[in-house]
Amino acid sequence: MSKIKTLEDLMKIKEKAVKELQLRDTGKRGKITVAMGTCGIAAGAKDTLKAVVEALSENNINDVSVVQSGCMGLCEVEPTVEVRLEGQEPVVYGHVTPENAKRIVKLHIMSNQVVTDLLVRRGEI
């Protein structure tokens, strides 16, 4: 990595990063974000993340990306997972155990059904 000296350098990284983020999303239907703050991890987010990745690969889904983030602030219902599919409102699920993660992949990702019993928030913050 070379040092950034000028605004152009910085813009270049930004453009590249924005593009990469888009690239990650283009050709993709959407993304699943697993909140990996301390409360999330304490509530089992690592297993959740693993289950999401496994469920996607078991079902040969490669048009949905999986990313990690900090905590979304919904500590009461950790582990939390956000699903963003193209053209749809983002949906946040709570209490996502590995089993629930599999259900989310099966229902929401594969058959476009919101898993209503796990739903905690819809729409942008």
Binding site: L10, K14, V18, S69, G70, C71, H95, T116, D117
Partner: protein, 542 residues
């Protein structure tokens, strides 16, 4: 009216599903668990919700269930009505409740500090840059003189989010004005205030915002070295901050000649060992210097005589996290949020008996009521709110008469409600103020560093008195003694710990005076919490 209401939808359809039977079963269970006085059951017509079961709605929680068997009813009674936990597997999501009267919308948060938290990958510097990260640093280094940065921060009206609310721009200016061969920037990430966890959220979710801000601060005040003092248990924060520092060095946002400007800045992490007092700025500086964490006598203050005796800016994590946005968007933009005296937003940790415990960021001036009911979803199980602790252990205890106080850095002065570090701890009447006061003073007695007598002995005495009261052996004079302790400790202590004990102690004794008085007279704790020792109190009057 009883505090909780269960509405059961009974119509031609649901009767076939067993609605009548469920209502009877529900009433039986309510009797069995002794909930007759708290829960009402009403039958109502169709609720316009079509599920495969009978719809039961619980108020004020505003939770709707689809019930298909008596086991479901039992779950709702034992989990929700008794323990206040929703039964997720039976719950009908709100968006399916088409005909139910449109609920007041949960108001959106206003995110300045948390704008990236929960949405970017905190371990990717590129994602931070994609969200305009390090553009503020570039702007500062390429277009602004240090004096202009100071003016900008001063004009924004930003005040310290660590609790005391000191104007940040002014603090920076004190340090900038002093001539010295070395100056420092320190980030206070000790986050010791019980119940607070906002700084952790920021460091875990958006570590670069803190690093960028500290570098900007270094440029503004002429400091070339920075320390982030993180409490040791915050593994996730330490990890993400360290990764972020490493990446920032690689990109040249830290180190020598940052972005070709000729400005150098180095940043290091130091770990705290879990003492509350090490969050106090001078004790923290001692700790960084490798000494034991005892406060220094002030003045002189850190801006002129700080770390290793050199001029030092010390700010809280959340304070710093505001800086890049202020630089990019300007002070006027920042002042469009919040109140005149306290612009911007505040990140709150909602804890205690609220339904949605967690973190919210809202404009300064939001009332305690809104925080608890609009953002926190009210109290679990529809219980009555009795007491709220605002601002952390060093903050205030208030009753429900003060819920409409708009919180900012003047609300303590104006309404006796402290914003402190942004904790909102909601408590139902199942807690007892005397017990809470005891607990609070035990905390201070334990955390007092012992350096000065009023604080060390005052807290110990207060604990003794409160212990007596909580055993039903208090005297009326004890209340006066508690107040005396509060005043003396405030006046005569060396550091902020002792100096602010009066805030929690006086607020609880004054706002909940009746509870204390009752403990003197009653034969058992009115809240059923404290265990009275029953001796000599048996003179029966006839």
């Amino acid at each position: 009216m009883k505090p909780m209401l269960v509405l059961v939808s009974v119509d031609s359809n649901s009767v076939l599903l067993g609605a009548k039977h469920f209502v009877n079963y529900l009433k039986d269970l309510i009797g069995k668990y002794g909930l007759q006085d708290t829960v009402d059951v009403l039958e109502t017509g169709t609720m316009g919700v079509y599920t495969q079961g009978v719809v039961m709605a619980i108020f004020p929680d505003d939770v709707y269930y689809s019930v298909r068997s008596t086991e479901d009813v039992e779950k709702i009674v034992t989990e929700h009505l008794l323990k206040g936990r929703s039964v997720l597997s039976l719950e009908i999501p709100k968006d399916r409740l088409k005909l139910v009267v449109e609920k007041e919308k949960v108001s959106a948060e206003t995110r300045i500090v948390l704008r990236n938290v929960g949405s970017i990958d905190p371990r990717s510097i590129d994602e931070y840059i994609a969200r305009d990260g390090y553009f503020a640093l570039h702007k500062v280094l390429s277009e602004m003189r240090p004096q202009q940065v100071l003016e900008c921060v001063k004009a924004s009206g930003l005040r310290g989010r660590g609790g005391a609310g000191f104007p940040t721009g002014l603090k920076w200016e004190f340090t900038a004005k002093v001539q010295a061969d070395q100056k420092y920037v320190v980030c206070n990430a000790d986050e010791g205030e019980p119940g607070t966890f906002k700084d952790r959220l920021i460091m875990e979710g958006d570590p670069h915002s803190v690093i960028e801000a500290m570098t900007i601060c270094g440029y503004a005040v002429g400091a070339t070295k920075g320390y982030i003092y993180i409490r040791g248990e915050y593994y996730g924060s330490v990890d993400n901050i360290q990764k972020a520092i490493k990446d920032a060095y690689e990109y040249g946002f830290l180190g020598k000649d940052i972005m070709g400007s000729g400005f150098d800045f180095d940043l290091t992490v130091r770990l705290g060992a879990g003492a509350y007092i090490c969050g106090e700025e001078t004790a923290l500086l001692e700790s960084i210097e490798g000494k034991s964490g005892r406060p220094r006598l002030k003045p002189p203050y850190p801006p002129t005589n700080g770390l290793f005796g050199k001029p030092t800016v010390i700010n809280n994590v959340e304070t710093f996290a505001n800086i890049p946005q202020i630089i990019l968007n300007g002070p006027e933009w920042f002042k469009s949020f919040g109140t005149a005296g306290s612009p911007g937003t505040k990140v709150y940790s909602l804890v205690g008996n609220v339904v949605r415990r967690g973190i919210v960021e809202v404009p300064m001036g939001t009332t305690v009521r809104d925080l608890i009911y609009r953002f926190g979803g009210g109290l679990v199980g529809g219980k009555d709110l009795y007491m709220v602790q605002t601002g952390g252990t060093a903050g205030t205890f208030i009753g429900i008469d003060k819920l409409d106080a708009p919180l900012d850095y003047d609300s303590f002065k104006n309404y006796g409600v402290s914003i402190g570090s942004g904790v909102i701890l909601a408590m139902s009447d199942e807690v007892c103020p005397v017990d809470v006061a005891l607990n609070t003073m035990q905390f201070f007695a334990h955390e007092s560093c012992g350096k000065c007598t009023p604080c060390r002995e005052g807290t110990r005495l207060a604990v003794q008195i409160l212990e007596r009261m909580s055993k039903g052996q208090g005297k009326l004079e004890d209340l006066e003694t508690l107040k005396q302790i509060a005043y003396v400790t405030q006046e005569a202590s060396l550091c902020g710990l002792g100096q602010s004990i009066n805030v929690p102690l006086l607020s609880i004794v004054e706002n909940f005076r009746n509870d204390f008085i009752e403990h003197l007279k009653a034969s058992s704790c009115p809240h059923g919490v404290c265990e009275f020792i029953k001796i000599q109190k048996s003179k029966v009057k006839t």
